[in-house]
Symmetry: C2
Subunit: 353 residues, 2 copies
């Protein structure tokens, strides 16, 4: 990328907010902004499976760019899935209709960890890097592109449960009963994720988000013992200067220890009040946290709730407006566009001079 | 009950802890202590369905008393389900194999609320009162019996979702979109629950627990707006002097507002550290909070984690040892018995005089 292009991206509201610098307006993007709620996305998905879409750089780039343009958001996030990094380890990943991700060879015994392969991202995850390169070319020059991966705990949880779970009992039982194998598994996952995210940065991502989506099933002391060493190691290994966003659901009790593990921006879910959470997180930027269910209500209700989030952020530099979890399929695109416009309009600051 | 019997119950470690009075040892009982993990329970269940078991006072009393005796715990909890109070409102409740509770006529539109009937507990829930009377007769005279019900939010959530849910999107969407119907629904549920719990107290329960199991899906401000008025009203309407235990899962962010809604004892789940949570809850007793998954590990690990909970409680009067959620089916009874013995032994205080 040319220096003037880089500089333009660096001056964008999103990148400024990641660094807690004042911006002309509060930047906004939405978790799962390219998704089933959008007709353009459903059209592409009618032709290919979810995993094929992830693995076809042209299509992944298309849905990424279409969503960002259509919504008028301040950042794009590469279309992919938090779990694609599990495949090259040897996990058999499938997305089944209705049930979501399934791992056909779940890790259940300590002995299941050793056969997992070390990931060479350039060989096995090149389709994501290609998608990022293509997207970067097609995106408006001022619009940052976010890369991402599942964080090791969440990846381990899917690998052990064999799919989604409500309480992650198998994962925690494995962790408590086989601390050695847990360490080996988390070590392999951490090396894979660090290399994978650095590859995304090299391919053209301006920031990366670690989704530790299900880490909220742990207590703070379990987080510190079983997760912290690995997540903090990944974050230390990422290319310096690239903002890291660190997010999970149900992490109200974990905010301090997650911040300590790392990240320039802590993603807040909808269980917390943004003002109170940000007070506890002094020294980092925050992202969040409108409840995506609000978008299913009337326009007026959506905007009232958005106003509350903006009020709680208080106009301080370092707030990135987002949802507290992904856009839900029954959401109307009109509500999302109205939300983005509202955030821009209500947070606009008169430029100096 | 004779005055000397009542006095004996009032002097039990459990009742003392509810009132934050010193007790000879930390009382312990376990959420779902009568359940599938226990052979004696499975034997009874082989003969009747789950709902038949709830509705047959002799059998409900049998599994209640058997579990309490076998484990050596400091309180029994009447065998029942948090959802039985939904049936007399007109909800068609079934427990399906594997899937758990199903409501066949879920509430989806505002208009679905009006036809729900007002509950006359003595007419429709007499089987629970009978079970309590029978249990009280068969239980050792020093052992308190806990009655319980689902709290209105959790009941509404099941009624709207039609069963279990992960994110309670339908419930929250209903709440946001139909505030009037939500108020009507919560009002009916609150009146039913208050009458139902007072009936259990009249039948012989020494304490009652409100299970607001899924309220943790809400933010503190949503709790205050959509739940607080109803839960606090119920608690105010209960017979004075009878300890109220107030519990939910994933409530780390809601502890203060739940305490404000009411309860002598706040139940803590496994997502919080007990010491920190109790500091935030000054002025009430606490119950919890060993992660039930710990019981799936080796004995030594279980006791180490139990030690941590006791250390966090610091021997202060007003701690009732419990799990942070229900006993899991693969748990071994031996581990549970070892846990109960360990808590008794480690918390024993030399009697004065």
């Amino acid at each position: 990328m040319k220096p003037e292009e880089l500089e333009r991206l660096n001056q964008s509201p999103f990148m400024k907010a990641c660094r807690r610098l004042p911006a002309p307006h509060t930047p906004v993007w939405l978790l799962r902004q390219a998704g089933r709620y959008m007709a353009e996305y459903r059209e592409v998905r009618a032709k290919v499976s979810f995993l094929e879409l992830c693995k076809t750089p042209e299509l992944a780039a298309e849905v990424t760019v279409t969503a960002a343009r259509r919504l008028g958001v301040d950042a794009a996030i590469i279309f992919s899935d938090i779990l694609v990094v599990l495949e090259p380890l040897g996990m058999e990943l499938e997305f089944t209709k209705g049930e979501g991700p399934v791992l056909h060879n779940p890790i259940r015994e300590a002995a299941d960890v050793q056969p997992l392969r070390e990931v060479v991202a350039a060989e096995s995850l090149g389709f994501v890097f290609d998608a990022i390169r293509l997207t970067r070319r097609e995106l408006p020059g001022h619009l940052p592109l976010i890369g991402f991966s599942g964080a090791p705990f969440t990846l381990a949880a899917y690998a052990i449960e064999g799919g989604s779970s409500r309480n992650f009992d198998l994962t925690k039982a494995f962790m408590y009963r086989h601390p050695g194998a847990w360490g080996d598994l988390m070590g392999k996952l951490s090396r894979a994720v660090a290399e994978y995210l650095n590859g995304q940065i090299a391919a053209g991502a301006q920031a990366v988000q670690l989704f530790d989506s299900w880490v909220g099933c742990l207590s703070p002391s379990d987080y510190r013992e079983y997760v912290f060493p690995y997540t903090s190691q990944i974050i230390r290994q990422l290319k310096p200067g690239v903002p890291v966003l660190h997010f999970g659901v149900g992490t109200g009790m974990l905010l301090e220890v997650m911040r300590e593990a790392g990240g320039d921006v802590i993603g807040l879910d909808f269980h917390v009040e943004l003002d109170e959470a940000w007070r506890r997180l002094d020294g980092v930027a925050v992202q969040g946290n409108l409840d995506p269910v609000c978008l299913l209500a009337e326009r007026e209700f959506v905007l009232r709730r958005a106003r509350r989030v903006l009020d709680q952020a208080g106009g301080r530099p370092g707030h990135i407006f987002n949802l507290g979890h992904g856009v839900l399929p029954p959401t109307t695109v009109d509500n999302v566009i109205a939300l983005v416009e509202y955030v821009h309009e209500q947070s606009a600051r008169p430029s100096r001079g």
